[in-house]
Symmetry: C2
Subunit: 219 residues, 2 copies
DNA sequence: GTGACCATGTGAAATGGTTCACAAGAAGTA
DNA sequence: TACTTCTTGTGAACCATTTCACATGGTCAC
């Protein structure tokens, strides 16, 4: 039972699994499934049925005993839990190798993450057009972020400058940052920070190969 | 004490933290630190000293009581634990947006991950040169992977074809895969698979913002 | 409407990971 | 050498997450 007031802390892994359920439900929807059981949902993402039910139970009881979950309904519940049933205004900072790749990725917008501003400090890039967005000068960061009402930032700049930019975007009112630079950034407790660290994953693979580490779950 | 035979299962989080320690040690080395305490190491990556010591203790006792750890020595120990003191031959499949970004990234090679082959099925890309590597036709995957002795693959193709390619690379002898496609891939138990899922991280941020979820650790 | 069946939702148990707290070892000082 | 100081390495305690197991409540066939 999920009283909206019962503010029990939800674990990171539960949230990550909700993303997986969401992905699977989108697929099931395309395959015209009406309902799905925790068993089937679990099978598709290599989890256990109990895990699926427990995860969902933190937020409410969405299923029907004897039948399972309605695909559309559960999908929309998860959308609302994850907050991807709304539109997020996102700025991408650092239009280099990885930055350019991210701008071109259409799936983000489909999930409500709209990259509406690009920033760089390279004169050759400023003013250029990426998928319909003109690259802004980083000097105008503060005013442009505030004017556009941006709350989320994807950071794809070199590690050496990442902290300075973080300090600036935080001042401009951003409360969520997805960072690609391999560095531990300092943010105030009101700001949410996630790191995408690809080297870490390669190193994990390397470790697993060297140590014959039994592959358990992929993430 | 780490007898090499005491094959206790090491947790994923411990391995991930070793990557962080490695990153910090590389930095400390540049800053000419001789030694470092678990306290300092912890501070730099927002962890606790006890966590640092416990993680390291699974693999041996590398420190000196009263003094701390020798930076160079510990760095090299971690390199050896993670298996990044050797050279890995890597193939990248799918030279699109994200694939191109990854080929250009020089840090991977510095950590022993050498991308030596590129594959695609797009005739316009096959034969083209990326950072000195000619893109091969995916048709020649099997023979070229075997001949080059490649054991690791980075997969940056659309989700729709990812499973087919995985089946092929596994047949060709690859035992580690870093997958960027948002899909749950099936691999035999002998093959190590990791997924890089950026949408998941954006969704986590979205959840955190909507729910005022206390930011604890960034990953 | 009745009964057989099925899958959820959830306390309780089991497992796994983190933090505590301290004995013990090493360095430096006198 | 003896004493102080410092920080490691590690069982034990604690806390979090996963799995188990079953009562509950709903479906569906007849
Ligand atoms: N390319 C990859 O595959 C990859 C993989 C893992 C991590 N990363 C990390 O992602 C980040 C970006 O990598 P990249 O390969 O795209 O690098 P890149 O050099 O291609 O791009 C960085 C961009 O940031 C811009 N920039 C630099 N300083 C700036 C500033 N002060 N303000 C605004 N913009 C600034 C540069 O002009 C450039 O366009 C790095 O931290 C890198 O370590 C990249
Ligand atoms: N671009 C991003 O920022 C981003 C972010 C998250 C996830 N991803 C995922 O990464 C993957 C690649 O994304 P992208 O944006 O680079 O796409 P893309 O279309 O730019 O690149 C895909 C590449 O794979 C090649 N390809 C297609 N079928 C192939 C086959 N059968 N054999 C060999 N090569 C084949 C294409 O020719 C193309 O070069 C996708 O699964 C996507 O969902 C991308």
């Amino acid at each position: 039972m999920a009283s909206p007031l019962a503010r029990k802390r939800i674990s990171e892994s539960t949230i990550h699994r909700l993303s997986l359920y969401y992905r699977t439900l989108s697929l099931l929807e395309k395959e015209n499934y009406e309902t799905v059981s925790s068993k089937e949902l679990a099978k598709r993402e290599k989890l256990t049925p109990a895990q699926v039910r427990k995860d969902l139970s933190f937020f409410g009881s969405f299923g029907t005993r004897g039948l399972g979950y309605n695909v559309n309904e559960l999908k929309s519940k998860i959308e609302s839990i994850l907050g991807i049933n709304r539109d997020w205004k996102v700025a991408l900072i650092g239009v280099g190798n990885i930055g350019s790749a991210l701008v071109s990725y259409k799936e983000f917008a489909k999930q409500g993450f709209h990259i509406i501003k690009l920033f760089d400090n390279d004169q050759r890039k400023i003013g250029s057009n990426h998928k319909g967005i003109i690259v802004s000068d980083i000097k105008n960061l503060d005013s442009e972020i505030k004017e556009a009402g941006i709350t989320m930032v994807i950071l794809a700049v070199p590690a050496t400058v990442a902290q300075y930019i973080v300090d600036d975007v935080v001042k401009a009112g951003v409360t969520a940052i997805l960072n690609f630079a391999p560095i531990n950034l300092r943010v105030p407790p009101t700001v949410h920070l996630r790191n995408e660290n690809m080297s870490m994953e390669l190193e994990y693979l390397s470790f697993a190969m060297v140590n014959n580490h039994a592959p358990k779950k992929s993430k």
